[in-house]
């Protein structure tokens, strides 16, 4: 029996090592083979040899930025409400609803972005926006996906603040709002920041929504306009995978996929590491 568990552990380890190995091997060989000036050009057109990384990075940052504009206030708001204000009965209803949100497949939200968010929200607020696809609509949908993560991690952090601190605050004549903002939030700040970091990490890594709703197929010019179609690191990778011509070949375009993948991996890994650290620190503070 014990061996079975060891085997399971080893298999997981092996798979992880294998993934990282493949990623790194192809990323490195891409980096060696690519003419370096192609990494900084007018846009991302991998099949024509333009590998402008900043197009993807800026695209990802824009999507993440828009997502955070939605998810940070809503996620933290839900967390604070659930942990500090909601009566037990309200909480019992609301919490599962937030959790259901986490269970919606991202492909559904991708279509929700193009069929609802873009026509009814984005193009209304920004009449110049692209009517079919744009970064902003994708960002809003990614934000919706991120709300449950931020809400649940932040709520755990808030609830972990001991009753004795709240009592100290109320005992000094603080109202609930003051107790929340001057005692509970500061005491759980590292956990709340961790929630934000995990949320960012999730938003950066989201693929399906941006592949569907951000709308840059196969490639795109460098752009900083969130109301136009754009490329993100993840969507670019997916597009490379979907393409029929050079898939699974040895071409430079295919290898670029691993290069982006590696960047993405490093980025989310660092973010998660930081988030984890902070979550652990919460438990030590009081």
């Amino acid at each position: 029996m014990r061996r079975l568990f060891i085997a399971a552990g080893l298999t997981t380890l092996l798979v992880t090592v294998l993934i990282v190995y493949t990623l790194v091997k192809d990323a490195v060989s891409f980096f060696i083979d690519v003419p370096k000036y192609e990494l900084w050009t007018i846009g991302w057109f991998p099949r024509r040899g333009f590998f402008d990384i900043k197009t993807l990075v800026v695209g990802s940052l824009m999507v993440t930025g828009v997502a955070m504009l939605i998810a940070v206030p809503l996620g933290l708001g839900v967390a604070v409400y659930l942990s500090e204000f909601a009566r037990p009965r309200v909480r019992r209803v609301l919490k599962p609803i937030v959790e259901v949100l986490a269970g919606i497949p991202s492909v559904v939200l991708g279509y929700f972005a193009i069929s609802f968010i873009n026509p009814n929200i984005v193009t209304v607020l920004a009449p110049g926006a692209n009517k079919a696809f744009n970064i902003a609509a994708a960002g809003v949908a990614v934000g919706i996906l991120t709300i449950p993560i931020i809400a649940s991690v932040a709520e755990d952090a808030l609830r972990a603040v001991p009753l004795s601190l709240r009592e100290a605050s109320y005992g000094l004549g603080a109202r609930r709002v003051a107790t929340t903002f001057r005692v509970v939030l500061p005491a759980s700040i590292s956990g709340v920041v961790a929630a934000l970091i995990l949320g960012i990490s999730r938003a950066v890594g989201e693929t399906m929504v941006v592949a569907i709703a951000a709308g840059a197929v196969g490639g795109g010019l460098f752009s900083t306009d969130p109301f136009q179609p754009g490329q993100t690191m993840t969507a670019a990778m997916a597009a490379l995978g979907f393409g029929s011509d050079q898939v699974a070949g040895d071409g430079l375009a295919f290898q670029s996929l691993f290069f982006i993948g590696f960047l993405l991996f490093v980025l989310t890994f660092l973010l998660n590491l930081l988030g984890d650290r902070l979550v652990r620190r919460v438990r030590e503070e009081y």
């Binding site: 009566r87 037990p88 001991p162 004795s164 601190l165 709240r166 009592e167 100290a168 605050s169 109320y170 005992g171 000094l172 004549g173 603080a174 109202r175 003051a178 001057r182 005692v183 500061p186 005491a187 503070e285 009081y286």
Partner: protein
């Protein structure tokens, strides 16, 4: 907005009564009870934790609550600053009058009550903030913003809590780095900083060693000139040493359930309670022949 209007109304309700009792009569301040409970019962859900408590708490005196575990000392204590409001199942019957105002009247705002009646808890509970910010927390709530004003309050509160010399060089350091005894004195200082009328203490020394305990007891004698104090303690000697009045609670078996309800057995001058109590149960308890 509604909140702030309530607050102002509350302010005046409590203030008025206070004025009346203090200035409007010929009786000296000391003779007017700060608190008077009438047939006070507290329930947690259906369970009556303590019943029919009648006590009066005199100004500038120390009143001790003693009795076996579970007899409702903390429960009664927490009625005096409406801390029980934080427990959703808790419910109060009877009245708790503070300078003649029933604290459980509908128009009384619990927050206003707590600004006048401070509390020190069993386990020291400093905020995970700097020593300075712990002290400034209450004054800031009350709208004091100027650094110079806060500095004065912080220093004088720490001095009154006999902590100033130990921490004056590290006011910006975290309060979590203090020893248990220092933390408890910090909590007392934090309480003093909002100039309450009454300080409630729930077993303030139970987590402390004898030396730290002695310091807190000295401190209580020191500050009783300015504050009315109610202390819950399991330490008989402590009650005998520090208090002017003592209330002894015990538990009684309920006929209708197997849970025990707390009752007030005897309430009198501490000296009498410990030398010549009227009730045999008090005598058994204070002489350690309890149970």
């Amino acid at each position: 907005m509604n909140d702030s209007r309530n607050l102002i109304e509350q302010e005046s309700v409590l203030e008025q009564k206070h004025e009346e009792t203090v200035t409007g009569s010929v009786v000296s301040h000391e003779d007017v009870p700060v608190f008077r409970t009438k047939d006070l019962s507290v329930f947690y859900g259906d369970f009556r934790a303590v019943r029919d408590v009648n006590v009066y708490i005199k100004a500038r005196e120390i009143t001790a609550f003693i009795g076996p575990s579970g007899c409702g000392k903390s429960t009664v204590l927490r009625c005096f600053d409406r801390m029980n409001d934080l427990i959703p199942t808790a419910r109060v019957e009877g009245t708790v009058e503070y300078h003649g105002v029933n604290l459980y009247d509908r128009e009384v705002d619990a927050v206003e009550v707590r600004r006048r009646v401070g509390m020190v808890f069993q386990k020291p509970n400093p905020f995970p903030k700097s020593i300075y910010d712990n002290l400034a927390f209450g004054p800031r709530l009350n709208g004091i913003k100027k650094k110079a004003d806060l500095d004065v309050i912080v220093e004088s509160s720490l001095k009154r809590a006999a902590l100033w010399d130990e921490v004056k060089d590290r006011l910006k350091a975290s309060a979590m780095g203090l020893s248990g005894g220092q933390q408890q004195r910090l909590c007392i200082a934090r309480c003093i900083a909002v100039e309450p009328d009454v300080i409630l203490m729930d077993e303030p020394c139970s987590a402390l060693d004898p030396i730290a305990t002695a310091r807190i007891e000295d401190l209580m004698q020191e500050i009783k000139r300015d504050f009315t104090i109610i202390i819950v303690t399991h330490n008989m000697q402590q009650a005998a040493r520090v208090s002017d009045q003592t209330a002894f609670f015990t538990t009684e078996v309920n006929p209708e359930s197997d849970r025990r309800t707390g009752v007030l057995v005897e309430f009198d001058k501490t000296q009498k309670m410990f030398s010549n109590p009227s009730d045999s149960r008090t005598e058994a308890y204070v002489t350690g022949r309890f149970g």
